[in-house]
């Protein structure tokens, strides 16, 4: 288990981490999710030992490692921009940690070829990083981090520099890898879809603090506050009330509790259609319907419809 207690980290006047405590259970895949500047990467770097906290302590499997250098923490770290050793081949990049540890040559050869197999780079072992695509470089980065059998695997926006398709492929692949190896893994991301897709637990961070820690489903269904509600998915705000676009029902006739709105625009997103609506007081909201629903209602822009939330959230504070 990774345990960070009361971590404070300042960069000059900027407080990157403001008394943050996070527990990552052994064998879990936890995402640190938040906007840029929320402190998620700094927390990851503190866990790895790449940053020293100003206060607080980090323990790995019950052992206090706060003052230990990254070399002796047994962590694998994957960087957003790969941090590939440019002058070494793919093979030598992956073998780096084992060479440093002076493992016997046969063991190194066996382990590296296993890992290259795992990340599907076997044919590219003799290439240099500059001759690889972004996705290949990041798979190499992962193999390199896994080579030393880390007790925890830390990934800092690992897919942030890749295009959308490769990103989805790799996170699926990461999930499968985790299901096989069960290495305790922490992934930092600003993409809520990525966090929900890949992780068992999500820690939502904002302004150097933890807003909520929960499994993806619970986070979505029971957000702790406004920030989490609006960060983990699209949301309509009407006064104090928050409504998800898919919880908006559209009716052609008024019915006691409904509100009158006008259809401004229909956005077709394949199976789903986003209906942009405007109330007579100028407030806008959007509803998410299926294509069949839109066709059944014969919706057109300029049309008047009546809105009823099927589910809404109000935060008490």
């Amino acid at each position: 288990m990774i345990s960070a207690r009361g971590i404070v980290k300042r960069f000059g006047d900027f407080i990157a981490l403001d008394d943050v405590s996070v527990d990552v259970p052994t064998g879990s895949l936890t995402a640190l999710l938040g906007p840029s500047g929320s402190g998620k990467s700094t927390l990851l770097r503190v866990i790895a030992g790449l940053e020293q906290p100003d206060a607080g302590e980090v323990s790995l499997d019950g052992e206090d490692v706060t003052r230990r250098p990254p070399q002796s923490r047994g962590v694998g770290f994957v960087f957003q921009h790969y941090a590939a050793f440019k002058h070494l081949t793919v093979w030598d990049n992956v073998a780096f940690g084992l060479t440093i540890r002076r493992r016997p040559r046969r063991e190194i050869e066996q382990r590296v070829s296993e890992l290259l197999d795992l990340v599907q780079l076997t044919g590219l072992a003799k290439r240099y990083p500059a001759q690889l695509s972004g996705g290949q470089r990041q798979r190499m980065g992962l193999a390199r981090a896994l080579a030393v059998d880390p007790t925890v695997l830390l990934l800092d926006e690992p897919f942030g520099a890749l295009d959308a398709r490769v990103r989805k492929e790799l996170r699926l692949w990461l999930r499968r890898l985790h299901d096989e190896t069960h290495t305790t893994t922490v992934i930092v991301t600003h993409d809520q879809e990525e966090a929900m897709d890949v992780a068992d637990r999500v820690v939502v961070m904002n302004g150097g603090r933890v807003e909520q820690t929960a499994p993806p489903r619970e986070l979505y269904d029971h957000p702790a506050n406004e920030f989490v509600m609006s960060f983990v998915g699209p949301v309509n705000r009407l006064g104090d009330t928050f409504i998800r676009p898919h919880d908006v029902e559209l009716l052609l006739e008024p019915n006691g509790s409904t509100q009158e709105t006008m259809v401004q625009r229909l956005v077709h997103l394949g199976f789903e259609v986003r209906v942009e609506l405007v109330r007579d007081d100028g407030e806008t909201l959007s509803a998410q319907l299926t294509r069949e629903q839109v066709e059944a209602l014969e919706l057109q822009s300029g049309q008047i419809v009546y809105v009823r939330p099927t589910r809404q959230t109000v935060f008490s504070d």
Partner: protein, 257 residues
Amino acid sequence: MTAKYALRFASLGYLALLLVAPLGFIFWRTFEHGVGPVWAAVTTPDALHALKVTLVLTAIAVPNNTIFGVLCALAIVRHRYPGSGIVNAVVDLPLALSPVVVGLALLLLYGRGGWLGGHGIVFALPGMVLATIFVSLPFVVREVVPVLREIGTEQEQAAATLGASALQTFRRVTWPAIRWATAYGVVLTTARALGEFGAVSVVSGRLAGQTESLTLYVQDRYQSFDTGAYAAAVVLALLAMATLLLMTRLRPKEGIQ
């Protein structure tokens, strides 16, 4: 097309007129009467001694400035501490200061009545070594600093998380990235050390056969209307060219990386 030829003509013409012509002329004057007299001129005891002095100065200054230069570049780029900006500026001082001023400064410090005077430094080889080191100090630092900035710290951090100590990280990650910049710095340092005149001239005392480097010898011979000056100058020029040639041979083919 005309513009392309004009550009080529202008640049080549400029180089020919200002660099190649004077150098070619020296070679021509030197070998005017064949190789025999040249050989005789460069093998006089004073000329050989001057060559030896120059080689000794270079052999001491270059390794010192290489090791110190790389360390200094690491200190400037990788560590933030109060005054690191000043270090960065001070390194450039030898480029800005006239070598004569450097020589005088050393004379004041180590000469008779100076703070550290009276240890046989001035008017002897140690003083000349100090002067040579001083003027050729910035080159390795200036070549290595931008490369260190460009490669950033991520590769070094990756090495650390993989278990590499600071020394292992330097040897396996940082050094391969900066070695060509260092090599280029070494060539420039060598060229500067071979050719230094002003600072060495002030601190050497210019005793023929004792504290005369090759550059000083050239001027000395020239002022005595001795054609040996040309022969010695050619030796200097050949040394410099050999250094540059070595550099181009060492430089890897661009492409990998």
